[in-house]
């Protein structure tokens, strides 16, 4: 046998594998620390002071949320509270949900989203099943706005009430041959779920989904 080369030495490759794996893992952990800081949920103070968080605090439900093109970032971003950041929007008749109330509502909604298994028909932030529409920006969907098809169908005055009504009695409002089943969602749970959806729409998803609700055929231009 010729003189052994390092390239055909198992020890060399074993050590390389260990070093590369270790390096990749350390890098991932380091990035995780950085990301964890950036995706921490904001607070009511942040919203009041106009501090932009990737994941805003639960009291975002008191504010108007839109999804607008940012020339700086080259894609759409959620805009909270309009141009000045302080434009409120009533949520189930109130725009003064306290941090505690809003947090409890969001907690109920997030629990509901898991227990009702939303993710095995819908996608949330694009992840889940593909049997039903993506819910990332459902709160901003033209269908739920004033004059939108879904809001008219339920006969409710506001989009949050329309969404809550639909969630409680989905098969009463068939929109398509493929219907949402009745999941025994109570009025309170529906409120929580709508809060969860509104909160999700305010998350900065780096422009996903692209051009949401801005196409001619989609009817109303969202948030305008």
């Amino acid at each position: 046998m010729a003189k052994a080369s390092v390239w055909s030495d198992n020890r060399f490759w074993q050590r390389s594998a260990a070093w590369i794996t270790g390096f990749a893992a350390v890098l991932l952990i380091w990035l995780t620390f950085d990301t964890a800081g950036q995706i921490e949920m904001g607070t009511d103070e942040d919203l009041k002071n106009g501090v932009t968080k990737r994941v805003p605090g639960p009291t975002v439900i008191n504010y108007k949320v839109t999804y607008e093109m940012s020339t700086k970032r080259g894609h759409e971003v959620p805009v909270i509270g309009g141009a000045n950041g302080d434009e409120k929007e009533k949520f189930f008749g109130r725009d003064d949900w306290s941090e505690k109330e809003a947090r409890d509502l969001l907690h109920l909604g997030k629990l509901g989203s898991q227990v009702k298994n939303c993710m095995n028909c819908h996608t949330l932030l694009g992840n889940g099943a593909y049997y039903a529409p993506d819910l990332t920006k459902a709160w901003l969907d033209p269908a739920w706005q004033d004059g939108g098809t879904m809001q008219s169908l339920t006969g409710k005055e506001t989009k949050e009430e329309a969404m809550a009504e639909f969630l409680q009695h989905p098969s009463t409002y068939p929109t398509h041959a493929r219907m949402m089943p009745d999941l025994g969602i109570t009025a309170e749970e529906a409120k929580g779920l709508v809060a969860f959806l509104k909160h999700m729409s305010s998350i900065d998803t780096n422009g996903f989904p692209r051009n949401f609700g801005r196409m001619e055929n989609a009817g109303v231009r969202n948030g305008k």
């Binding site: 055909s8 198992n10 490759w13 074993q14 390389s16 594998a17 590369i20 794996t21 893992a25 890098l27 991932l28 990035l31 950085d34 990301t35 964890a36 995706i39 921490e40 990737r54 994941v55 909604g109 629990l111 989203s113 898991q114 227990v115 009702k116 298994n117 993710m119 095995n120 028909c121 949330l124 932030l125 694009g126 992840n127 889940g128 593909y130 049997y131 039903a132 529409p133 993506d134 990332t136 459902a138 269908a143 098809t149 398509h176 219907m179 999941l183 969602i185 109570t186 998350i203 998803t205 780096n206 422009g207 996903f208 989904p209 692209r210 051009n211 949401f212 196409m215 055929n217 989609a218």
Partner: protein, 477 residues
């Protein structure tokens, strides 16, 4: 699978392996059945509406997938451990006890999914019904059970690995399986922050299927090459280490491709794009490696002048080669299709992902695990050279054809969805249904159902063959 030929050192471990394989095959069948229910619902939306809704069928479909693969993976390790270490698996009695606990837990979870399905929006439902997080829906109580069973399994593996002969394959498996089990912990908490939720959820899903499971496949493929064609251990293990370096080197940070749109910072675009673009490379390497070793060993045999196949288990080796190719095609090519953020912005959350999911799970994992089942059948029946039977060939053809067909159909459906619902209609509720009602989408779903049915037919042949081939006189005893 009669176990009359399992005697001597390692027979206990191998017997436990056959138990794991048997339950895996049953759950594999359940996976296909619930997949068929879900596929029918795409074509006939009223099918079992408010009885067994899509959400339940789909949850069972993907959970059964994960469970049967984990069972078959545990089985594979218990099977090869005595061969590699030269000793009986340590703590095998506890291993067997944990097996029954595992089976009982899975059965209870499935029954609860089926008959309770959904509960009120509170913590109790999370603890006792399901957690509603794709792939890892198992309720919290079952999470703890799974952790206990996995720890027991890892302990068996580690103790045996330390005491017995320490091969490269076992070393890789020891490191890999502890990471595999440990990562499950990242999915065991509740948070109101959906972005944080999905961040850690991907630690489990991605670091399983695109890192630790892939390395597992590398180790199993190495074992298969040594046992089935007598490949040279040093060469095989050197390749294995190279594969580990490439798989973990690309796969760990490749997790970035799941962090493009869930609220995480923009730098994940670059990291995800770069490392996930590298992910197909080790899969190419694995494919070349299997074919190279096969050619080399067969060439060596041919040079002796005696024309005889070096493969001592034809059906298993067929599945191993399919794995090498399917892994590359399903995980590599179909994954690369939509991994760059510029493309993924439109393909994320469409049937495109589903197409990739079907071919990748099948190509990368189902194939090689079926191959391991054949190796177990060979061993338990004391067969020297195992040949194909009519059933084994029908099984391979129908399953491979069926899964490829489903993948192509779903890819077409994905294109329609991307172009119509996403690019044209801006991803709204109305846009979604415009895409779904398109003719090409509907036709694709018809084809998917048909191809799914073919796959199930192939599965029936597979079960028949696994149960009967051991007694078939065609093999050399």
């Amino acid at each position: 699978m009669a176990s009359n030929h399992l005697t001597g050192i390692g027979s206990e471990s191998k017997q436990l392996a056959t138990w794991y394989f048997t339950f895996a095959a049953i759950i594999f069948g359940a996976q296909l059945l619930f997949g068929l229910v879900a596929a029918i619902q795409y074509v006939m939306p009223g099918f079992l509406f408010e009885i067994l809704d899509f959400s339940v069928a789909r949850m069972l479909h993907i959970n059964a997938l994960v469970v049967w693969m984990v069972f078959a993976m545990f089985g594979s390790v218990y099977w090869l451990l005595p061969d590699e270490t030269g000793i009986e698996t340590i703590g095998i009695k506890i291993g067997k006890l944990l097996y029954w606990i595992f089976v009982a837990a899975i059965v209870v979870v499935i029954l609860v999914y089926l008959f309770i399905q959904v509960g009120p929006a509170d913590e109790t439902s999370i603890w006792f019904i399901h957690e509603g997080r794709e792939y890892i829906e198992a309720p919290r109580w079952a999470d703890f059970g799974i952790v206990v069973v996995a720890l027991g399994f890892v302990a068996n593996l580690w103790l045996t690995g330390f005491k017995g002969k320490n091969s490269g394959i076992v070393t890789v498996l020891m490191a890999d399986m502890i990471a595999f089990a440990g990562l499950y912990l990242a999915g065991m908490f509740f948070t109101d922050n959906i972005t944080v939720d999905q961040y850690w959820w991907w630690w489990v899903i991605h670091l399983w299927v695109e890192a630790t499971w892939e390395v597992f496949v590398g180790a199993i493929a190495a074992y298969g090459l040594i046992t089935m064609i007598g490949a040279h251990r040093k060469v095989v293990e050197m390749w294995l280490w190279i594969e580990v370096a490439m798989l973990f080197g690309s796969g760990i940070l490749g997790i970035g491709h799941h962090y493009f749109w869930i609220g995480t910072p923009e730098y994940w675009w670059e990291i995800g794009a770069l490392f996930s673009a590298l992910e197909p490379l080790p899969l190419v390497a694995m494919f070349i490696h299997v074919l190279y070793d096969w050619g080399k060993t067969q060439g060596g045999q041919d040079a002796t002048g005696v024309e005889v196949s070096v493969v001592n288990n034809k059906p298993a080796f067929t599945w191993f080669v399919l794995n090498a190719f399917g892994n590359f095609l399903g995980a590599g090519i179909w994954g690369f299709f939509h991994t760059l953020p510029q493309v993924n912005l439109y393909t994320h959350g469409t049937q495109f992902t589903s197409a990739h999911g079907h071919l990748a799970f099948f190509g990368a994992y189902a194939t090689i695990l079926i191959g391991m089942m054949y190796i177990a059948v060979q061993g338990t029946n004391g067969i020297k050279v195992m040949k194909h039977t009519k059933s084994s060939l029908w099984a391979v053809s129908l399953i491979v054809g069926g899964v490829m067909g489903m993948t192509i159909a779903l890819t077409v459906a994905g294109y329609v969805q991307v172009l119509v619902s996403r690019a044209q209609m801006g991803a709204t509720w109305a846009g979604y249904f415009d895409g779904q009602s398109g003719m090409w989408f509907a036709q694709a779903m018809d084809w998917r159902l048909f191809m799914g049915a073919l796959t199930f037919l192939g599965f029936l042949f597979l079960v028949k063959d696994l149960l009967s081939t051991g007694k078939n006189p065609v093999h050399e005893k």
